[in-house]
């Protein structure tokens, strides 16, 4: 088991290097100059010398190759460098924000799972009836409604109906769970709807497919109760692809929070990302892309491991 994980971790190194290289060069073709923005953005007549001096201080005047070497060697030692904007270590800047985003993603996952499994099952069992149509329409609507718009509607609704708004500053869940949840539940719902929709659809199509399998016919031929057939023979097999989708979506969720955090004013990595891109803070963007890539890969790995545990075929498949 350990050796398998080690093997898989070894496999992700080239992917991460690829992400690092691609990300570096993509950002360097990005026009705009952070120094100019920082010093002249407010219309103050800062001289060209001052700008050059600041550029040199940040190491932006170095040749591209040497910047690249710095970036890659930094990565090798887990040093993501310093933000070009705040001059603080990227790791520190991310570290203060990542937990909020992860919590929202995690809560959205729970919401999605709680909704998707029963709803998807119901829809599959009552295929082509009104129940199925309602579930499908609700699910497809979940994919259609932009989460930021949903967020705006949620805020508007809270304000208009309850004259209440969530607190503005996030606190740790362990410090004050009620306050924490009263802030983060809203973005979690806004993104969780889409997430639940994706999972519901997968649950439905996966279960439908499983119900067509020969072993379901075998189970019927055994005279099992329909509920037993669905639960024991259907769901367990149907859940496997749903797990994959939940894993993949979890990773994408981190990216999707970019917009939602904006709407809900959540101080997470999504908001940080938009700010960093806007400012041309290369090091910060690089750090965030690496973080998201690592989360994506690790979640995929976790899904694979879970798969191995749940599906005996995977354990010994050649």
């Amino acid at each position: 088991m350990l050796s398998y994980i080690a093997h898989r971790l070894g496999m992700i190194v080239p992917t991460l290097i690829g992400v690092a290289v691609l990300c570096f060069f993509m950002l360097r073709i990005m026009p705009g100059d952070i120094v100019e923005l920082k010093l002249r953005g407010d219309g103050v007549a800062v001289t060209e010398e001052v700008i050059q001096q600041e550029r040199a201080r940040l190491g932006l005047d170095k040749p591209l190759a040497s910047q690249f070497v710095d970036w890659m060697t930094g990565l090798a030692t887990l040093d993501l460098g310093r933000s070009l904007w705040t001059d603080k270590p990227v790791v520190e800047e991310i570290g203060t924000r990542v937990w909020v985003s992860l919590q929202v993603a995690f809560m959205a996952t729970i919401i999605a799972v709680l909704i998707a499994i029963p709803l998807g099952t119901l829809s599959a069992l009552y295929k082509d009836t009104w129940i199925d149509y309602v579930v499908r329409v609700v699910a497809i609507a979940g994919l259609a409604v932009p989460s930021f718009w949903l967020g705006m509607l949620v805020i508007m609704g809270l304000l208009l109906l309850f004259r209440w708004l969530p607190p503005i500053e996030t606190v740790s869940f362990f410090h004050d769970p009620i306050r924490n949840l009263s802030i983060l539940i809203w973005p979690a719902l806004a993104v969780g709807y889409r997430y639940a929709a994706v999972a519901t659809r997968m649950m439905r199509s996966s279960l439908l497919e499983v119900l067509k399998e020969d072993y379901i016919r075998t189970a019927r031929a055994k005279g099992l109760y329909e509920r037993l057939i669905v639960v024991r023979h259907g769901l367990r097999n149907a859940l496997l692809p749903v797990i994959t989708v939940i894993g993949v979506e979890f990773a994408f969720l981190i990216g999707g929070l970019v917009v939602t955090e904006q709407v809900f004013n959540i101080n997470g990595i999504g908001k940080l990302f938009v700010q960093a891109v806007g400012r041309g803070d290369f090091t910060m963007v690089q750090g965030l892309v690496m973080l998201v890539a690592v989360i994506f890969i690790l979640v995929n790995l976790a899904v694979d491991l879970l798969y191995g545990v749940l599906d005996p075929r995977i354990r010994s498949k050649a």
Binding site: E36, L39, R40, V44, V50, W164, I168
Partner: protein, 536 residues
């Protein structure tokens, strides 16, 4: 909230705005003067951006001033109740020599830094030298404003003397700049970059903590040299996006936002929170300007530039856009209402400011024909910031359509807009002016030849304007200076390298609990919070 009938809605909108202005401006000041300040409490206010680092001398954004200003003292400052009067901060008194070249300041005794060390003339000198001649690796954003300074001397620990090379009408005002924080000379000697990462001043509040992306706190400095101040126990600046501010104000989660709200947001908070908030209004020391790329055809022809400026109906814009944006007053190159600014009568005589828009547009089309320009299609480069850039841009596009000019709107992220401007890679663009004080030497920089002024992106080279600028800067006689400025303004509007579109309005919404804060036309000024107190 129901959906009201269109006209009724608009009327309601307009009246609310006007009524609040009149009421609060009068009442707030009167009440503030009468009441006795109460000690205690923490002021929570919103800041819509975040300072990148902690060095006053290197920064340029209001987002820096709002959380950082309470920690530092300045040599001079603007008197908040009587802007633009200058008063002393660290300086107890000062004298100016007759030739206007020597300025002598007497400092308050017993001023202490937050670490307990005494603040003396030596610290003032070290701070200003850092601004005027920054050591390697230190950014000084406003170095150029002090290029007249010959030397800074400290004859004794309580006295600072500035000697100038030539007369500078703006010198004293520049010493009141909120950016010129006084640092500890010892700390600077040990590390010239000390202020970048540390906050250690002599202001009313000690530095508490700064959590990236979240908030910034300060606590009362008991050793503050003004007895009894500050009144607040501390302050908490919360960083949030501008869209969240309105909700936070309305929900009472923050008590203030000091930069200024758009009218829609102002009215929303006002309607939502009712008498729990007070609104302060003032003209804003900022304007939206239109820059033509004078190096590119057809804008190398002054007739074309002037024609486009003529097509903009600034008076109609003033009423229409004020409803939906912070844009408002019609003005020239100086803020309407400033003593050196052009009067309305003077203004209407300048091209582009006439009240007969039809005549102006006819003239514009004639000019275009003379210049041989027909069916003009140009790009308008703009920032992708809504308020007020997009609004101004959309307005300009609509106005130019009236004289048959097709404009493509190219909205860029601020960073890309900035580099398009500096590299001259645009046809015409929306830009802005904004300063911490009314002063021609500062405010005219957007209209000077590009070679002299790095912030004029039109690529213009007009020796006459440059000469007039230099003359007014050295002219200490107010009337004569006004004349020179007027001459400059006329020339600038005729040549139309850069033309104003509209000036801004500033609306600040505070909780009614917040007392002792005075509105000024600049959101950079009066933010040390020493006089501010909470009613409960």
């Amino acid at each position: 909230m129901g959906i009201l009938h269109r006209t009724g809605r608009l009327a309601a909108l307009a009246t609310t705005g006007l009524a609040t202005t009149a009421l609060t401006l009068g009442l707030a000041t009167a009440a503030g003067a009468a009441e006795t300040p109460r000690r205690g409490g923490t002021l929570t206010f919103a800041v819509t951006a975040e300072p990148p680092n902690y060095d006053c001398h290197a920064n340029t954004s209001f987002a820096f001033i709002h959380p950082v200003a309470p920690h530092y003292s300045l040599l001079l400052k603007f008197d908040p109740a009587n802007y633009p009067k200058i008063t002393g901060d660290l300086a107890e008194s000062w004298t100016v020599s007759d030739d206007g070249l020597t300025f002598t300041f007497k400092l308050h005794p017993n001023v202490k830094f937050h670490d307990g060390s005494a603040l003396t003339a030596r610290d003032v000198k070290a701070s200003y030298e850092r601004i005027i001649n920054p050591p390697k690796g230190v950014v000084s954003a406003r170095q150029a404003t002090f290029d007249a300074v010959a030397s800074v001397e400290t004859p004794d620990p309580q006295t600072v003397v500035f000697k100038l090379k030539g007369a500078d009408a703006s010198f004293l005002a520049n010493l009141a700049s909120p950016w010129n924080c006084v640092y500890s000379a010892d700390k600077l000697a040990a590390d010239p970059k000390f202020p970048e990462k540390n906050v250690m001043g002599s202001g009313p509040f000690k530095f508490g903590e700064h959590v990236s992306g979240s908030h910034w706190t300060g606590q009362r400095f008991d050793g503050y040299f003004r007895q009894g101040e500050p009144y607040l126990d501390g302050f908490r600046a919360v960083f949030m996006s501008s869209s969240a501010v309105t909700n936070a104000l309305q929900g009472g989660q923050v008590q203030a936002e000091f930069r200024g709200l758009a009218p829609a947001d102002r009215d929303r908070v006002k309607n939502g929170a009712g008498d729990k908030v007070q609104v302060h209004e003032a003209p804003w020391l900022a304007s939206l300007i239109l820059v033509f790329n004078a190096k590119k055809k057809p804008f190398d022809d002054p007739r074309v530039r002037r024609a486009l400026s003529l097509a903009i109906d600034r008076w109609q814009a003033s009423t229409a856009l004020a409803k939906i944006s912070i844009l408002g007053p019609v003005g020239g190159i100086l803020r309407p209402g400033y003593e050196l600014a052009a009067s309305e009568a003077e203004l209407t005589k300048m091209p582009g400011f006439g009240k007969d828009i039809k005549a102006a547009r006819d003239e514009a089309m004639l000019l275009l024909r003379e210049a041989g320009v027909t069916g003009l299609t140009v790009n308008l480069t703009n920032r992708n910031v809504n308020m007020p850039y997009t609004i101004g841009g959309v307005y300009v596009i609509d106005q130019l359509r009236q004289i048959g000019v097709t404009v493509k709107h190219e909205q860029l992220e601020t960073k890309l807009w900035q580099s398009a401007m500096s590299s001259g890679n645009y046809d015409m663009a929306i830009d802005f002016t904004g300063d911490f004080m009314d002063d021609p030497s500062l405010n005219l920089t957007k209209y000077l030849s590009t070679e002299i002024s790095p912030v004029n992106y039109s690529g213009q080279a007009d020796p006459l304007l440059d000469k007039l600028y230099a003359q007014q800067r050295g002219e200490t006689d107010k009337a004569k200076r006004a004349q020179l400025v007027r001459e400059f303004e006329r020339r600038a509007m005729e040549q139309a390298y850069v033309v104003p579109i509209l000036w801004w309005n500033r609306s600040v919404v505070l909780s009614t609990d917040v007392k002792g804060w005075e509105m000024t036309p600049s959101h950079y000024l009066n933010q040390d919070l020493a006089d501010v107190w909470l009613a409960k």
